[in-house]
């Protein structure tokens, strides 16, 4: 059998094995080693396995992954979420949907510094959901906005998803982070608009609390005080990175140090510190297992010349670049309904990336488009993980209420995707100025 056929069969097997419940990293290793062995022999395949495992786990470029994880886990232990919500609420009070907009605002900032969509959805729901229900918010609007708000951090730097994309495609981490800023802000604006629109359509049981007037100067100052630590962390990491003070790894280390000092100042105990470390270790295992799998799979993809085969196939089939892109995005949206977002990026990007580059698309732009599409999976029924995070707090609500609640936000994401595809300058403007 020729290498290309082995490559194609291997990829089909990969998805079959994943669907049969194998850990994603294990499936990638199995198929990568098996396919490579079928082409060049068992001994070289084992050598590739050993090299890929050792080199990936000791790659200095990857040291920033656990450091950013640690930063996020320390922030999650610090109680910042409540401060952000109360700060945001002071700015958005006095209009229908204001509290929902506050939830989205606080989620955007918290998910940016915590780096975890799931932690944000869970934490912000604990903080904001009881208040929203007390004020008579429609449960669909309350839960939908909080589930969707948790996804915002995947785009706004420092983002683990963009970081991993940059590492596996050998793009500049700095460029990827910059590219995510405007699409992230666009997502935030569209979500807030969605909240205000849906607050008029899904009217709750009670009207606005009459004691809540529009934001005063004092409210703005208080909100600024509550937001300052999060913006300070953002400024430290991004300013340090782009000001030439930090390498990406150092930016992660500085961010983690800031988060540690802040969390301790906010009363984090030893137990909270250990929990943050344990969470970092567990996520490190999860991500690096898949990274090792991606590295092994990469050997198979290049040896079998699978990418060239796919490009030839698409040319023979008369598919243009945009048709290829749409096919990949549809695949992402479908897969995103069933698969964890980071795993999806690590699993598919090594396969699709060469095809995308060959089709003439900008790799940074594609990274943003891919992450936006993957992000949809976090709130897409039936298995969008953020839905379950919200449900774990809003236990009295049926899941279908939460699913109904996120539909307007999914539509908002689709609008954003269309805007980013039609106006790629939104993505490429800031990296172009690096």
């Amino acid at each position: 059998m020729d290498p290309l056929s082995i490559g194609l069969i291997s990829i089909a097997l990969l998805f079959a094995i994943v669907l049969l419940g194998a850990p994603v990293g294990l499936a990638m290793v199995l198929v990568g080693v098996g396919g490579f062995a079928a082409i060049v022999g068992i001994a070289p395949a084992l050598s590739v396995l050993q090299t890929a495992a050792f080199e990936t786990a000791s790659n200095y470029s990857f040291t920033l992954v656990p450091l950013f994880m640690l930063m996020g886990n320390l922030i999650s232990q610090s109680g910042m979420a409540a401060d952000l919500f109360h700060g945001a609420e002071k700015l958005t009070r006095g209009r229908p949907g204001g509290l929902g907009a506050a939830g989205v605002t606080a989620s955007a900032v918290f998910s940016t510094v915590s780096g975890s969509s799931l932690a944000t959805a869970s934490t912000m729901t604990k903080v904001a959901y009881p208040e929203m229900r007390k004020r008579g918010y429609d449960p669909r609007l309350a839960t939908g906005s909080l589930a969707a708000g948790g996804t915002l951090g995947i785009m706004i730097p420092p983002s683990i998803a963009l970081l991993l994309y940059a590492l596996i495609t050998e793009q500049s981490v700095g460029e990827m982070f910059l590219a995510g800023i405007l699409p992230g802000v666009l997502a935030y604006i569209l979500y807030v608009i969605t909240v205000f629109i849906m607050a008029r359509i899904w009217r709750g049981e009670t009207e606005l609390d009459p004691e809540q007037g529009p934001a005063s100067l004092a409210s703005w100052l208080e909100a600024g005080r509550l937001f300052a630590p999060a913006f300070g962390l953002f400024a430290l990491v991004m300013g340090g990175l782009y000001g030439g003070f930090f390498t990406p790894t150092e930016a992660g280390g500085a961010g983690a140090a800031f988060a540690l000092v802040y969390a301790v100042a906010k009363g984090m105990r030893w137990k909270g510190f250990v929990q943050a470390l344990r969470a970092t270790v567990e996520t490190t295992a999860t991500i690096f297992f898949i990274l090792i799998g991606a590295e092994v799979l990469g050997f198979l993809v290049s040896t079998s010349q699978l990418s060239f085969g796919m490009v030839d196939f698409m040319r023979d089939a008369g598919l243009g670049p945009w048709q290829v892109l749409i096919a990949i995005m549809v695949f992402y949206i479908v897969l995103g309904c069933f698969m964890e977002s980071l795993a999806m990026i690590l699993l598919t990007v090594p396969i699709f990336f060469p095809v995308i580059v060959d089709s003439g698309f900008d790799p940074v732009w594609f990274g943003i488009i891919a992450v936006v599409t993957v992000e949809l999976g976090l709130i897409s029924p039936p298995v969008g993980m953020n839905l379950f995070m919200v449900k774990s707090v809003a236990t009295e609500l049926p899941l279908k209420t939460i699913m109904a609640g996120v539909v307007p936000f999914i539509l908002s994401d689709i609008v954003r995707l269309a805007i980013l595809i039609l106006v790629p300058q939104i993505v490429l403007l800031l990296p172009g100025r690096l």
Partner: protein
């Protein structure tokens, strides 16, 4: 995944010990990585501010960070099993509970084979680097010592995987 409270055999007890020890090692390695990187940022600030007069920077920090990551990653794997590796259960969730359980154990067998193979490959590297007298570039640490640590971590990962096949230390309910 969380550990069940029912009685377990010797394999599960060894696996628990392996998870606890690996987790401690992984936490220590992550902390070491953090300290090396964070300290060097401060030290470099002092170095720049003093006009290169005061140099407190840790020599070979890149090497230290890299090997701290290596140790953290492999030590994290057994601990990572406790929280579950990423899987797609959309199809397996529809299967009868018994079939699901068999399939689950099958993947742990494969996971064991993977971990054991890595342990064997790294053990070979221990011997090879011992014979060649290979050392790390900056600190001159014998490479065989690093490979010994990684080999032991892979053995721990293999033990935990094997325990999941014969005497699961995670709650059955967590699996499906």
């Amino acid at each position: 995944m969380t550990f069940s409270t029912r009685h377990h055999g010797p394999l599960a007890r060894v696996a628990r010990l392996a998870v606890a020890a690996s987790e401690l090692l992984a936490i220590a390695a992550v902390l070491a990585l953090f300290v090396v990187v964070a300290f060097n940022i401060l030290a470099r600030s002092v170095f720049d501010a003093s006009g290169a007069q005061i140099n407190l920077m840790i020599p070979g920090a890149v090497e230290l960070a890299s090997y701290a990551l290596l140790i953290a990653v492999f030590a994290a794997l057994p601990a990572g099993l406790e929280n579950g590796l990423i899987r797609v259960d959309v199809l397996t969730g529809l299967l009868p509970r018994g079939v699901h359980r068999v399939l689950d154990r099958f993947w742990f067998v494969i996971l064991f084979a993977f971990a054991a193979t890595l342990a064997w490959l790294f053990a070979n590297q221990v011997l090879e680097t011992w014979e060649q007298g290979e050392v790390t570039q900056d600190w001159g640490v014998p490479m065989w010592a690093i490979y010994v640590v990684v080999t032991i971590e892979c053995v721990a990962f293999a033990i935990v995987s094997l325990a999941e096949v014969f005497d699961p230390i995670v709650k059955e309910a967590e699996l499906g």
